[in-house]
Symmetry: C2
Subunit: 357 residues, 2 copies
């Protein structure tokens, strides 16, 4: 086994032709006679030769690699999103250079790596919140696409779900179900999407003033941080945080009858706490709404009403941006795209409205 990989010159020598001929044999559009191509391909097969894209990267300035930055693949939503991104990129002839990131520190190093491998663009599903990271992204001077991030900047495009309207929709469901003690289970504070969902939810609920403020205020103990009439719990997007937050609430003898969670993982955790810790039945005693439409939400143990972000549409939008960005003569673009989420109604909100409309 020779360590050096087979080169086009090796093939050319074996076939008794020039190196250019070998190159052309592997290029479908090239001008080459069928006889020549056959001869070359035969020699190539003998040596098990495959043309390298590395020199082509230098010449063309296009690596056809897209840097994909991920974090938290333990959330099935992100795992699935990554899968769809990978499939779409491959279908468009791109390669995926994957980078996993834990914190902002790693991100900087990751961006350096991606830059040195000359990726043509970057796609990330991280909640890029800080100005620093956005600027670092901009400085790469290549198209960047962020999912569910609010940040805009030169060369940065964002694709988000219509989080605010979805929040309002959740509020509408609460009203229709006659919810009197609504609870909002928030994701991490730095998550822009979570903040938007909260915004829409709170605004729509308080606007319509269908909440029994007095009762809720009464239920709030002094150390509750939220100044709103809707009870707010703090989570961090994991099942455990949802379970714990709800368990603590139940321990304080608060019995919600409506719960909107910033994502499905927390919703599942909260539902388990409601059932096992509070003895509350869903949807009879409490209705629950999540976000993301992860497969687990459809499992019979949960049967969770949720919002589907339509990842396929998000990903399609990303592909459109890439195509536009690479069109010859294209300028740096920073587009902002919002895709409407689709409400998926399941049993967790199947409560007959107790009051006549």
């Amino acid at each position: 086994m020779t360590r050096r990989p087979v080169t086009s010159v090796d093939v050319a020598r074996l076939a008794g032709v020039s190196q250019s001929a070998v190159s052309r044999a592997f290029s479908p559009e090239a001008s080459i006679s069928p006889a020549m191509r056959a001869r070359v391909l035969e020699a190539a097969a003998t040596l098990n030769y495959r043309p390298s894209r590395i020199p082509a990267i230098m010449l063309s300035g296009r690596s056809l690699m897209i840097g994909v930055i991920v974090g938290g693949l333990s959330n099935p939503f992100y795992a699935s999103a990554l899968e769809q991104v990978a499939v779409s990129l491959q279908a468009s002839g791109f390669q995926v250079l994957l980078v996993h990131v834990d914190d902002a520190l790693t991100l900087d190093a990751a961006l350096n790596q991606l830059a040195s491998y000359r990726v043509d663009a970057v796609i990330t599903a991280l909640a890029i919140g800080t100005r620093d990271t956005a600027e670092a992204l901009s400085a790469l001077n290549i198209p960047a696409i962020c999912f569910n991030s609010r940040f805009v900047g030169r060369n940065i495009s964002t694709i988000t779900s219509n989080n605010r309207q979805s929040g309002a929709m959740a509020a509408k469901i609460m009203r229709e179900c006659g919810v009197r003690f609504p609870v909002w289970l928030a994701g991490p504070a730095r998550n822009a999407a979570s903040r938007e969902r909260r915004h829409g939810f709170f605004d729509a609920l308080t606007d319509h003033a269908l909440i029994d403020h007095a009762l809720i205020d009464h239920a709030l103990t002094s150390d509750t941080p939220s100044p709103h009439p809707i009870l707010e719990l703090q989570g961090n997007d994991t099942y455990e945080s949802g379970f714990n937050a709800m368990r603590d609430l139940l321990d304080r003898n608060f019995r919600p009858d409506g719960l909107f969670c910033s994502n499905d993982l927390m919703a599942c955790g909260a539902m388990d706490a409601l059932r096992d810790h509070g003895g509350l039945a869903c949807p009879k005693d409490v209705i629950v709404i999540g976000y993301d439409n992860i497969p687990q939400g459809a499992w019979h143990a949960y049967d969770l009403t949720t919002f589907d972000q339509r990842t396929e549409k998000l990903v399609d939008a990303a592909m459109d941006i890439l195509n536009d960005a690479f069109r010859p003569g294209a300028k740096a673009l920073s587009r902002k795209i919002v895709v409407a989420a689709a409400l998926v109604v399941r049993r967790s909100t199947a409560k007959a409205p107790p009051q006549v409309r």
Copy 2:
């Protein structure tokens, strides 16, 4: 915005030094004076220059990229495995070139892509069963590492969980719980790991002859494929397949009291069917054992006893293989490593043995 990326020559010109100096400024071991380095780095910062690894790939013959082939990220086990592989590879200074594969057809194309990008090695968690794919992998002439695949070949190393012993361990638990009507819920037939688990489970159960054959035989209808005294259900590693298989069994009025599933997703599905469709309580009426230790198995709705494959050990083993393979003067290696799975006992098997020992 100039389309052409900044080059080391640009930096050299601005700093008034040679191109070599720029290169050395970015190479920690290089012989260069602090003054020179500072000057270069300043110019580089001005131009936002980062050295490209592309020419270095050509010169060194090492891309430091590892091709990672995945499929079925909707299984949290694989998503998590990918995450850990990515983290470890990055920590070792490698990049991850990710390829998603649906079927064998795509795999061939994927291998060609990886080869043309000159990845230094390939890691895959696919169940590579056919001889063709293994040969294609071998033909790449680079180290290949397969998780949970039985195939061996030149340059192919395999890392598997000790599936057979785990199966035997599951049988032991069944015996201790006094199970009389055991059921095996299999993964796809082409999944080598699933076959091994079945093997260990069946052997250990029949060896000890603690199963009430007559009763089980009676329960088997004529069209049941399995010739064994243990009832065998066919799944495809998804929640739905587990749910459906169990529901169909219950519809035929069979009431199992012990269930071993080839993976946790199917176990969760089967548990939901047992509860909602058969009215059976776990662990009182039926005990359930899964495989993989996905987070969902720990959720309160399931609380599933399962086998943890110790992904961190599998991944460490993979890193060891890579390091050895890249050691100067190393020969092609095809190692076979087996890592013992760790039994995680939870409530789904918490049944007091009814019979005195």
